[in-house]
């Protein structure tokens, strides 16, 4: 699976017991110390560009970026929060900050060949009453953002759901 991030803790390590990697969900990783930022901004691309340009000029790295009809959402590391807030204040746009978040990555080597993973994740977390703040996906992971205090419950529910 390779290194995912220096800050990411692999809770369930994908194991290779046979010649080829196993299909299906094979691991779970968690990265905490994250802040979810929602910036209310008009849908016009030029307006959104102003936000991203200002943040880029401050050298802040963003991830799990999402466009919504009346806002853009992203994550920053908690060390970058103060700087981010300063930039956003200068733009005079309403923002909502959710501190102390964690990104849980459900890992698979071929997520695109696995229908139903999102359903099982949503079901597992819904059953446990864990609020899913944001979701994202790539070919080797489905990422879900939760509040830090929910991590243990969420990870346990996911481990149970995927038999890990």
């Amino acid at each position: 699976m390779g290194r995912r991030s220096e800050r990411m803790v692999v809770i369930v390590e994908p194991r290779q017991e046979e010649f080829e990697r196993k299909r299906g969900v094979t691991g779970i990783a968690v990265e905490d110390g994250l802040v979810h930022v929602e910036v209310m901004v008009a849908p016009e691309m030029r307006e959104r560009l102003k936000v991203f340009r200002a943040i880029a000029d401050s050298g802040i790295s963003l991830f799990l970026i999402k466009f919504h009809p009346d806002s853009v959402h992203f994550l920053v590391r908690k060390e970058a929060l103060r700087k981010t807030q300063k930039v956003l204040q200068s733009l005079k746009l309403p923002t909502k900050i959710t501190r102390d978040c964690a990104l849980i990555s459900v890992l698979s080597s071929a997520m695109r060949d696995l229908p139903g993973v999102m359903a099982r994740i949503a079901e597992a977390l819904y059953e446990q009453g864990v609020d899913l703040l944001e979701t994202g996906d790539s070919h080797d992971a489905v990422m879900i953002l939760v509040r830090r205090p929910d991590v243990e419950r969420a990870v346990n529910a996911l481990r149970q759901k995927f038999g890990l």
Binding site: E20, R46, F63
Partner: protein, 463 residues
């Protein structure tokens, strides 16, 4: 013994002329002191007489209403590669006089699970190929296939196929099992390129060297040069993979580093990929509290129907996802008129989904539901569909280390007046959902903005 695995795609064995060009590559490797192991695909492209799709249609045309058993389909599909190995073995022998032996996947010791149509390799016995090499033969192995070794229904030694990109997978797997010096993938392009030359023309550059992770990301996001499963095996077993054209003198692309092998905080802009034929759906839910339950139910239905979602996301009153457009009709039939009862915080509501919320059919459905369920609040959940979308992705080594990527992407798109419907960032890529009519321009705009025409080494940077 210095083993090299050389894989030739369908076009390399489609004509006598192409076959000899490929055979020449094998002979050259042998003369240079290597022990080549050759992997061959079915001759030709889609539509040609022995191509996989043509073989499948032979069985399906008997009666399109009666599905062909997966086991039988696998038997049929492996015929193309078997033709390919015999032709290649003969061409090498005629060209050089070297001894050759054509082997099916099973004869070559490739054992798989019993998942017909998309089998996974569980074990490779290197003995048959090892013996052939020691006896001075050049083994020519059929790609895309293996055999089961489990007993029971379906039994021992059933022929299986490895799914999409199966011949690349065979090549990577044999290279790993034989501890080969390299795996060479011969294809109809010069190597892994910064973008599809059909879209960006002469601006496309061959990448001399990329990491396994970059090329895997590219392959998953639309580049068709080497299958990600082959890359994955090569990465796990540390086998260098070369991608090149059989007749070309250029070295092509080598994939032999892992991103984690590179010095910390290294990054580069690697390439731009595209994936057309995508549809984007947004489900609007009025009451935020009900969103999670509706979301879970819809994802459950899509999962059960075997539909994979991309670009999943949610906000206060909607959740969204993209699908391959071929699945749109299936999704439409699942969601149109779907009712989802929700009970949250002592509220009971019945959500009624519709992809055409202003239609007469929807209004009629709503009216009938109100009569049947007078005590239940009926709430519309309109589903907004954008049919013609494409995913355009910038491949970046270590995306998350680099500030300002999104700003540069948006800058380029704003300048070119290309709307971005949604974005998704991963460890080595940033993908944008755009309208299909903007796809070619979007690829070009990103290629220019990130100066991908410059050499890849020049683009490797440190934060």
């Amino acid at each position: 013994m210095r083993i090299v695995v050389q894989k030739f795609g369908g076009t390399s064995v489609a004509t006598k002329e192409r076959l000899f060009i490929a055979a020449h590559r094998v002979v050259r490797a042998k003369r240079e002191g290597y022990a080549p192991v050759v992997v061959v695909s079915a001759p030709g492209r889609k539509g040609d007489p022995y191509a996989t799709d043509t073989l499948i249609s032979l069985a399906r045309e008997i009666d399109p209403q009666v599905p062909v058993e997966p086991r039988e389909l696998d038997l049929l599909m492996t015929c193309g590669e078997i033709i390919g190995i015999v032709l290649m073995a003969q061409a090498i022998k005629v060209l050089s006089g070297y001894k050759t032996v054509a082997l099916t996947g099973g004869q070559a010791g490739i054992y798989t699970d019993g998942n017909f149509g998309n089998a996974r390799i569980v074990r490779i016995d290197p003995t048959p190929i090892g013996e052939a090499l020691r006896a001075g033969y050049i083994p020519v192995v059929a790609g895309f296939q293996g055999v089961t070794e489990h007993h029971g229904l379906g039994g021992h030694g059933q022929i299986t196929t490895l799914g999409r990109g199966g011949s690349d997978t065979t090549a990577g797997a044999l290279a790993a099992a034989l501890q080969a010096e390299a795996c060479e993938i011969y294809t109809d392009v010069e190597g892994v390129m910064t973008a599809d030359p059909r879209l960006v023309g002469s601006k496309a550059r061959v990448l001399p060297s990329v990491t396994y992770e970059e090329v895997s990301e590219m392959a998953h996001l639309g580049a068709k040069v080497v299958h990600p499963r082959c890359v994955e095996i090569a990465m796990d077993y540390r086998i260098p993979v070369w991608v090149r054209k059989p007749e070309s003198a250029s070295q092509g692309t080598v994939i032999r580093e892992r991103a984690s092998d590179l010095p910390q905080k290294m990054f580069r802009f690697t390439g731009v990929t595209h994936l057309p034929y995508v549809a984007h759906l947004k489900v609007h839910v009025v009451h935020q509290d009900d969103l999670a339950e509706i979301e879970a139910e819809i994802y459950r239905l899509l999962g059960e129907a075997g539909i994979v979602t991309y670009f999943v996301g949610k906000s206060r009153n909607l959740f969204e996802f993209a699908i391959v457009r071929d699945n749109l009709e299936k999704v439409r039939s699942l969601l149109e008129g779907l009712t989802i009862p929700v009970s949250v915080n002592r509220h009971s509501r019945l959500y009624l989904l519709s992809l055409a919320p202003t239609s007469v059919a929807h209004r009629e459905r709503r009216r009938m539901l109100s009569q049947i369920q007078p005590k239940l609040e009926i709430v519309d959940a309109p589903v907004e569909v954008t049919t013609n979308c494409a995913i355009v992705s910038l491949i970046v080594l270590n995306t998350r280390e680099v500030p300002g990527i999104m700003a540069r992407i948006l800058d380029a798109f704003v300048e070119a007046n290309i709307p971005v419907l949604q974005v998704a960032d991963a460890q080595h890529s940033v993908s944008c959902l755009v309208l299909e009519e903007d796809m070619v321009r979007a690829v070009n705009v990103l290629h220019d903005k990130f100066e991908l025409h410059k050499g890849v080494a020049e683009r490797l940077q440190t934060l």
